[in-house]
């Protein structure tokens, strides 16, 4: 019989919140649900339980505990935690059952040859779950239901050898069978009345007598208690969707606290991608912004429902190569948000990553070095913050003779080609470069016999003097079928200034009649 592993997360609502705020793990935390002011405790962690907090307590009752941390239940974060749990399970086996939001069963058949013996697999599952910010119980047993019961009942890692299910599960309280609604409340009450308090007692009941009193449901419960109830696993096809979301207690206005949340979310996102052996090339940050903010001064716990979210702010980060470094992502997002601030308080953060296969590249020993893609992206983002995003990159010439016929594009150098790198002996003769004036310098030109004889630029004092040599005009035009047609005469001129002779390109726009100095030959 193939073994099964079960991941069970006790206090799932609390764990979902703690993924983004792990510092609260050491404090008493209670999760509230309901509309204010009728909010009641829905879940709590061990510290809160030790302090006497129980499910159903009201917020007023909790006010007696001074160091109690209160949080509102977040279905969005629970969904994200559930997706993370499935990602973790999927990283071990393709056959995964999505039993409940807090319970996942994994078929481990054939996984020994990949991950090692089952105790090692169980430890590895617990470690990866912990990496995803979730503290879970892991149990390995010969059938799914025994694994689920063991994970629900025993904290930490539990291994049940085949045939020892009844012995190991026997000490569990009878409530364990009903925690995940395996039976209804009336059956539980019946067993309580009979004085059955643990699974060993239930397993010891005569089967026929139990069947006569409780029907097939009773027999099923007994088989569950014995660890004999077996069923087919219902595998789920886990979609390759990597999203993290956070609903904030208070709207965030500054970028620094936002970076704190983004850091946590990116770490979780990268851990999930890493668990599936994937990287990302596109990150999308969607922020729900508050346009009206009514802070309830009298309430200790402000309600996010009092805010009216009406606008969404979205930024997409596209990378030239697949990356998986949360620190790089965070810095890039910070630089991007600094250049393009949201402009309103943030209520919800939604971060998604487009999964791609990781970059597989190997540098050559004898090839010239290339900037590391991670460092290069960060450097380019920082440079864009200094000169502007559209002023940095590589250029691409357009198929036109129009002046300034180029466009800037993202700089992403390809890996060096070994054969091309060897062919460096080819020497090309130097060409005369034009140093362009942007924008072109408006000029006052004196003509003599149709040729420019003197030039003066009011905004560039150094371009002034007699023209001692001219060549041209060279006429060009284009795009006459468009609205922005162009037509011009170009002259190459040598101007005698005080100490030297300088060469310029003088241009006359035939449509406007303006003279400009386009640049200097250098």
């Amino acid at each position: 019989m193939p073994p099964y592993a079960c991941i069970f997360v006790p206090d799932f609502s609390v764990e979902a919140l703690l993924r983004l705020e792990p510092d609260l793990r050491s404090q008493a935390l209670a999760v509230l649900e309901g509309k204010p002011p009728l909010q009641k405790v829905f879940a709590m962690n061990e510290h809160a339980r030790a302090a006497g907090v129980t499910v159903g307590m009201t917020k007023v009752q909790l006010e007696a505990c001074s160091d109690m941390v209160l949080r509102v239940r977040s279905p969005l974060q629970e969904d994200t935690a559930h997706a993370a749990l499935l990602d973790c399970a999927q990283s071990f086996s393709p056959c995964v059952e999505d039993t409940k939001p807090n319970t996942v069963v994994i078929d481990l058949e054939g996984m020994e040859s990949i991950f090692g013996p089952f105790p090692k697999i169980a430890r590895e599952i617990a470690r990866r779950t912990s990496d995803l910010g979730i503290e879970a119980n892991v149990a390995v047993a010969a059938n799914p239901e025994a694994a689920v019961l063991a994970a629900r009942g025993f904290a930490g890692i539990t291994l049940i050898p085949a045939g020892k299910e009844a012995e190991q599960l026997g000490s569990l309280p009878i409530e364990t069978l009903f925690t995940g609604s395996s039976g209804d409340e009336s059956q539980f009450e019946t067993l309580e009345r009979w004085g059955i308090h643990n699974l060993r007692a239930l397993a010891a009941l005569p089967q026929i007598a139990l069947s006569e009193r409780m029907g097939q449901a009773g027999v099923r419960l007994q088989k569950l208690a014995c660890g004999n109830w077996s069923r087919m696993l219902v595998p789920v096809d886990v979609p390759l969707t990597f999203e993290e979301a956070a609903e904030l207690e208070y709207p965030i206005v500054l970028l620094e606290p936002l970076a704190f949340f983004l850091s946590r979310m990116l770490e979780q996102l990268c851990a999930r991608l890493g668990a599936r052996a994937l990287s990302t090339q596109e990150l999308t940050l969607r922020l729900t912004l508050a346009t009206e903010w009514h802070n309830d001064e009298n309430a200790d716990l402000p309600s996010f429902r009092s805010q009216v979210p009406s606008s969404t702010f979205e930024r997409t980060l596209r990378l030239p190569v697949p990356l998986l470094d949360p620190r790089i992502f965070l810095k890039l997002l910070q630089l991007d948000l600094k250049a393009n601030p949201p402009g309103a308080p943030i209520l919800k953060i939604h971060l998604s990553a487009q999964p791609v296969r990781p970059r597989a590249a190997q540098g050559g020993l004898f090839l010239p070095p290339l900037p590391e893609p991670e460092k290069l992206e960060l450097t380019l983002a920082r440079i864009a913050g200094i000169v502007g995003a559209d002023k940095v990159g590589s250029l691409q010439l357009l198929d036109t003779h129009r002046p300034e016929g180029f466009r800037m594009q993202r700089f992403a150098p390809a890996m060096p080609n070994y054969n091309a790198a060897q062919k460096t002996d080819r020497q090309e003769s130097a060409v005369t470069a034009l140093r362009i004036f942007r924008p072109p310098a408006l000029a006052q030109v004196t003509l003599r016999e149709g040729k420019p004889s003197r030039v003066q630029c009011p905004k560039r004092k150094e371009i002034a003097g007699e023209i001692i040599w001219t060549a041209g005009p060279w006429r060009s035009s284009g795009d006459w079928w468009e609205q922005d047609a162009w037509s011009r005469d170009e002259w190459d001129i040598a101007v005698q200034s005080e100490s030297q002779i300088s060469l310029y390109r003088l241009v006359r726009d035939l449509l406007s009649g303006e003279w400009t100095v386009e640049g200097t030959y250098d």
Partner: protein
């Protein structure tokens, strides 16, 4: 490093006279103290390794300077129309032919893509940073002097590029910046750049109107040029449309070199410091097809 000899309770306020026996014991004790490991005596200083030289893309200049040194700052200066940009394009073209990644920090935003394409530069390997044209938000922490804004941007960008190692050639083009602004770049900045590229395979090249980096530049080259024209046959005197701008006759002058002493031109420079060594070459005008 502490020693029992220096951990005396208190130094006496009067001169102490040692007997010969005590003196010899003191000498022995001093000799036994281990030397400071982090300090190297001047007599044991090693000679700096000779930097690798790469081609500048102009054979005549390579003959003059033995190439451009990696891990050093090279300065090329010259006035307008002296051929600085032509040498720059040739150097970038040679670097991209070697499959190296280049970065051009264009302080005056004067780079001409058409000339660059004619020079054979692989644009995929060229990072072009256009300074001086950012919006007001990007210029918040920069100088109030509009003349210094592009210079400050260029220096900041260069700092970032040098930190992000992996570039084969980093060029700071201050050629279009007035010299009165370029010379305000502190010497410490050039020193910092020089230290940043030291022991890296990066060639740091700066183009200026007049020497700015001073002693931080391992190689200082000055360029001058004269115009080369061609006149179509037949017409005398030649009309303007019969004349063609052929290119520039560029003369390079090696003013300073702190590199290896094996090269003939550099030996000549050392023997006659008052006299520089020169080389000349001609560029070709860009033909638009």
């Amino acid at each position: 490093m502490s020693s029992s000899l220096f951990c005396a309770v208190a130094a006496p306020a009067f001169p102490v006279a040692f007997s010969p026996r005590e003196s010899s014991a003191l000498s022995d004790r001093l000799a036994a103290i281990p030397k400071l490991s982090a300090i190297t005596p001047a007599s044991r200083l090693t000679i700096r390794p000779v930097p690798e030289m790469i081609s500048s893309g102009v054979p005549e200049l390579d003959c003059l300077t033995a190439g451009l040194p990696r891990g050093c700052l090279t300065e090329i200066c010259g006035t307008a129309s002296s051929g600085r940009s032509s040498v720059l394009l040739a150097t970038m073209a040679a670097a991209t032919r070697r499959q190296e990644v280049c970065a051009l920090v264009d302080a005056s935003d004067s780079f001409d893509p058409v000339s660059a394409a004619a020079a054979g530069i692989d644009f995929e390997r060229l990072l072009w940073v256009r300074c001086g044209v950012g919006n007001s938000a990007t210029q918040k922490n920069l100088s109030r002097n509009p003349l210094m804004v592009p210079v400050e941007q260029a220096l900041r960008v260069t700092d970032l590029l040098l930190q992000s190692v992996g570039f084969g050639l980093v060029i700071i083009d201050l050629g279009g910046i007035p010299f009165r602004a370029a010379r305000r770049v502190p010497l410490t900045t050039w020193f910092r750049f020089q230290r940043a590229v030291e022991n890296t395979p990066t060639v740091l090249l700066t183009i200026t109107e007049a020497p700015c980096a001073q002693t931080c530049a391992a190689l200082l080259l000055r360029l001058q040029s004269s115009i080369v024209t061609r006149v179509s046959a037949g017409a005398e005197p030649a009309p303007a449309h019969a004349q063609v701008f052929e290119g520039l006759q560029i003369q390079g002058e090696l003013l300073r070199s702190r590199l290896h002493r094996h090269h003939e031109a550099i030996k000549a420079l050392e023997r006659k410091p008052a006299q520089s060594v020169k080389a000349a070459f001609t560029t070709q005008a860009v033909k638009v097809s």
